[in-house]
């Protein structure tokens, strides 16, 4: 059975701080890892990672995948209150998409 574990489950930081969110996985026939930001209803797609060691960046967000150690991290620098959300990690494998439980990030002014 495919498994995705995210940590921490919740995190409270101050505006301007840098945060690192973790996602580890055990998946049969790994194809890709995806990060989403969920604020209200439908999660917003952030990144899709398929290759190890290649960092993807979008503004203050970046993510990297380690296929040897089976994990990914999502970094957010210079956090803003608008970054407050649940961040979901999902992995596409033989069983389809498996989601982690998410990290609930709260940015305090």
């Amino acid at each position: 059975e495919d498994k995705v574990v995210q940590s921490p489950l919740s995190l409270v930081v101050h505006e301007g701080d840098t945060v690192t969110l973790n996602c580890s996985y055990e998946v049969t026939n790994f194809r890709s890892l995806l990060w989403y930001k969920q604020e209200k209803k439908a999660p917003t797609f952030l990144f899709m990672l398929t290759s190890s060691g290649i960092e993807k960046k979008s503004g203050r967000l970046s993510s990297i995948l380690d296929k040897k150690e089976l994990f990914s991290i999502l970094n957010i620098t210079a956090t803003q209150t608008g970054d407050s959300a649940i961040y979901l990690c999902a992995v596409l494998g033989a069983d389809g998409l498996t989601f982690g439980k998410g990290t609930h990030l709260i940015i305090q002014p």
Partner: protein, 118 residues
């Protein structure tokens, strides 16, 4: 804790055929969501139920898609007739007892049903 269950996991049909997907949410979760996920894009919300009532179906293509949650527990999503562009992963998610439509209640996702329309 048992997660969100979906079936089937995979389905291949020809265009103009019909297909139905089933979802059983986490026990006690009042809110149930159906999403259409094309990989590389964010999931698109098709319909949201609160118990057995529809909260939001603004993005559901009602000429061909229908969904129901008659007893407020499990739900079915139907496509009739299917088109090539319906090929996607159909995700079901549920969220907890508050179920406020504007909340950030954590949504728990099922494994999805991968639909291929030929």
């Amino acid at each position: 804790e048992a997660g969100v269950a979906q079936s089937p996991r995979y389905k291949i049909i020809e265009k103009r055929q019909s297909v139905a997907f089933w979802c059983n949410p986490i026990s006690g979760h009042a809110t149930l969501y159906w999403y259409q996920q094309i990989l590389g894009q964010g999931p698109k919300l098709l319909i949201q139920f609160q118990n057995n009532g529809v909260v939001d179906d603004s993005q559901l293509p009602k000429d061909r898609f229908s969904a129901e949650r008659l007893k407020g527990v499990d739900s079915t999503l139907k496509i009739q007739p299917a088109k090539l562009e319906d090929s996607a992963v159909y995700l079901c998610a549920s969220s907890g007892i508050t179920g406020l439509s504007s909340s950030t209640d954590t949504q728990y996702f099922g494994p999805g049903t991968r639909l291929t329309v030929l």
